[in-house]
């Protein structure tokens, strides 16, 4: 091999021109949806590792896709959590209730009764199955797209609607944008409008639980787009260093408003793989597979509870609806793209599974659909009776409270200036 003077430009390497790579999704409006780049491995192939497996032994799970429900809607393989039929039916109901609630609230917003709404359509399995896999006293630090967590924990829909309406029964006193819930008695943390901030907070909460020798663990959720924020890195670093009992979930629904997941790094690696560099297990899961989501979350929860430390779970799913009522996806993705999503719809897949088990049928499903629709309508009626944003909001008198524990002199003065 020729000996080269190192300070000369490397003869071996071509000298540019350099090019900047700009990520590009597989299809844009007007084009055919194209998910050919998404590999869908068969269900049931992966082993469920022991709870005490060390991270290096788990690396394959970050690039794999944990799936339980096969194409015939049967639960197969080592990851099958073997949930009883009653639980599965409850899961189906809670997912459907979440979807029904979302559809109704969207209409309500369109009617101008509130200013804003965000649906979780297509992602219901994430919130419902994960809530089931956690204990009721585990602390949840969600983003704005896990309303299903509240449904799964049996929170009052009327209360949720009252927040959305900022009406006289809004426990957040009219202060928050619709859906920015906070429900302490359900161990559901206050949703922040600033992306990702809840992630290190969840780790801190979990560290506190461990400091105190408690038994409760924490779970938090961010979208794949939010993984680019500093808080994602802080959370993983602190969780790794102190081995905090926390489950850090990345809901990869393919989009961050208009930006496909390539702009968060998805062209180069999975989001589960981010865990590897912190020595944290990373599990990549079919987010539309209720059973797989439950099983992976249960594994992570049991591991955390037994002082096994944190787990990062990527929930691979698809945002079927618009980002929010302020968004129109037809401007940046093919109109009917969601129909081509290779992992199907979580409600439909669980429904088919129950039918395959002989525990469900179309007639019961139709009845359930109608029942839930009526329930939501009834709840809505009650909630509206307490007012809507366009009618009477909670009293402005309260707007100077809770800035501090006690209202300080300068805020008393300002309240008086306002005439209250």
């Amino acid at each position: 091999m020729a000996r080269k003077k190192p300070t000369e430009p490397a003869a071996a390497a071509p000298r540019g021109p350099l090019r900047l790579h700009i990520p590009e999704p597989s299809a844009r409006p007007g084009e055919q949806p194209d998910f050919s780049n998404i590999k869908v491995p068969p269900a049931g192939k992966l082993k469920r590792p022991p709870l005490n497996a060390r991270e290096p032994e788990l690396r394959d799970y970050a690039d794999a896709l944990i799936r339980v429900l096969d194409d015939d809607a049967r639960a197969v393989g080592d990851w099958d959590p073997q949930l009883d039929a009653e639980t599965l039916r409850r899961g189906l109901r809670d997912m459907l209730l979440t979807r029904t609630f979302d559809d109704r609230m969207l209409r309500v917003q369109r009617q101008g009764k509130t200013s804003f709404y965000m649906k979780s359509t297509g992602e219901e399995a994430v919130a419902i199955a994960q809530a089931y896999a956690l204990d009721p006293d585990d602390m949840l630090f969600p983003s704005y797209r896990q309303q299903g967590l509240l449904v799964a924990r049996g929170h009052s829909l009327v209360e949720m609607m009252c927040q959305i309406f900022n009406n006289t029964r809004d426990r957040l006193k009219g202060r928050q944008l619709p859906i920015m819930y906070s429900v302490r008695e359900k161990n559901f943390f206050s949703i922040s409008g600033n992306l990702g901030t809840q992630y290190p907070q969840a780790v801190g909460w979990a560290m506190a639980s461990a400091m105190k020798g408690g038994t409760r663990i924490a779970a938090s959720w961010v979208g794949e787009g939010t993984t680019a924020e500093a808080d994602f890195h802080y959370a993983l670093t602190f969780a790794s260093v102190y081995q905090a009992p926390v489950i850090l979930n990345v809901v990869n629904n393919q989009y961050a408003i208009s930006s496909f997941q390539g702009f968060a790094g998805g062209e180069r690696a999975t989001f589960a793989a981010r865990a590897i560099g912190y020595g944290v297990p990373g599990l990549r899961v079919d987010g539309n597979d209720f059973l797989a989501v439950y099983a992976a979350t249960k594994w992570a929860a049991d591991r955390a509870r037994s002082n096994g430390g944190p787990t990062l779970i990527e929930l691979f799913t698809y945002r079927a609806a618009a980002h929010s009522t302020s968004d129109d996806p037809s401007a940046y993705r093919p109109q009917d793209e969601s129909n081509s999503w290779p992992l199907g719809d979580p409600v439909e897949r669980l429904k088919q599974h129950l039918i395959a088990l002989g525990e469900w049928d179309e007639a019961r499903h139709a009845a359930l659909t109608q029942e839930l629709d009526e329930r939501v309508k009834a709840d809505l009626k009650e909630a509206e009776s307490y007012g809507t944003l366009s009618t009477s909001p909670a009293s402005p008198k309260t707007m100077f409270e809770d800035v501090f524990k006690e209202v300080p002199a300068h805020l008393v003065k300002q309240r008086q200036e306002m005439g209250y």
Binding site: G174, M180, G193, N194, E229, A256, P396, M399, L411
Partner: protein
């Protein structure tokens, strides 16, 4: 000349600069293919290409950190922060880097970046889509801070900001993107097309940073405002029947002290209005400046009318927003003295 609303004027400024200077690049969350959540960059990627106008990861600190590096290379980055409320993750790169680089390197390196951020309330955005953080940046030596109040100024000031070799914070009051909002939320919004400031040249022009504009000449009281509040104050002086001189600051730093002082020495009275929270807001600096320069000319205490010292409460937007109902009494109080 064309008729433009504020978004169109901003889009035009970006388009003109992309065309004039190969080193201008524009990026931010959803600004590329989609054209921005407020459409400020609509059509620009298609026209100028994917490496001139592109989307970024959701990481405000990364957006401004890389912007500084691009500026060091020789580009003129124009970064969009989707809402001013989301600028805080980038605070260290702004304060410790963009603002300090020229100084600490003895002038060897600098950050000719422009940071665009929609700010202010009045759109039912709740506490994280309504903030006015401009005051904080005026405390950071090395940053310039600008806020236009109309389409003509928006384009001219934005072009000047992009051409500026210092980092410029360019705040856009989103409430007036489509029309001048005077605080009367119960009345229909008048589109910009009905106002002369929507007459905007299609080509290049600049409005130098640091020069205020007299939005309304008057002799009774000097009203200092910027952004949306300029329109609120114009309405308020009319309704109060006070001959107020409304000064549109346009640039907060550098600040046009001469224009302010000349006016207050003439009127002897001063009301300062901004939407940001009161305590330590930019109104405090304005008040201090005015009393330092005009102490012996002041016939009444300087009044500040501002957002309350609370987060912006979603349902109580109109109780929070400092509209005419709060500016008028202040005008009357200073006139009584």
């Amino acid at each position: 000349m064309a008729t433009m609303n504020m978004i169109q004027a901003i889009n035009s400024a970006l388009d003109v600069m992309l065309g004039r200077d190969d080193n201008v690049v524009i990026f931010g969350e959803d600004v590329g293919y989609f054209g921005g959540v407020f459409r400020a960059t609509a059509g620009l990627q298609k026209k100028h290409g994917k490496t001139r106008v592109f989307d970024t990861p959701i990481a405000e600190g990364g957006i401004l950190g890389t912007a500084i590096g691009m500026g060091v290379y020789g580009l003129r980055p124009v970064a969009e922060i989707q809402f001013a409320d989301y600028i805080y993750p980038a605070f260290d790169q702004l304060v410790s880097e963009a603002a300090r680089l020229r100084y600490r390197s003895g002038g060897e390196y600098f950050a000719p970046i422009t940071v665009r951020a929609p700010c202010g309330g009045g759109i039912f955005g709740g506490q994280t889509h309504s903030q006015s953080p401009e005051g904080v940046f005026t405390h950071v030596c090395g940053l310039k801070t600008v806020m236009p109040s109309n389409p003509y100024d928006a384009k001219g000031l934005l072009i000047a900001a992009i051409e500026d070799d210092d980092p410029v914070m360019f705040f856009e009051p989103k409430r007036i993107y489509n029309g001048p909002f005077d605080g009367h939320h119960d009345r229909p919004l008048q589109p910009w097309s009905k106002f002369p400031q929507s007459e905007v040249p299609e080509g290049y022009y600049r409005i130098d940073l640091g020069k205020a504009a007299i939005a309304r000449a008057g002799s009774d009281v000097t009203v200092l405002a910027y952004g949306t509040m300029v329109h609120v104050c114009l309405a308020a002086v009319e309704e109060a029947g006070v001959d107020g001189e409304v000064i549109d600051l346009r640039s907060l730093l550098p600040i046009d002290v001469d224009a302010i002082v000349a006016s207050v020495k003439k009127t002897g009275r001063c009301v300062i209005v901004h939407e940001a929270t009161r305590t330590s807001g930019f109104g405090a600096e304005l008040s201090a400046l005015v009393q330092e320069h005009c102490f012996h000319h002041l016939e009444a205490p300087i009044e500040r009318v501002t957002g309350w010292d609370t987060p912006y409460p979603h349902a109580f937007e109109w109780h929070y927003f400092p509209g005419p109902q709060r500016v008028i009494p202040a005008l009357q109080r200073v006139m009584e003295n």
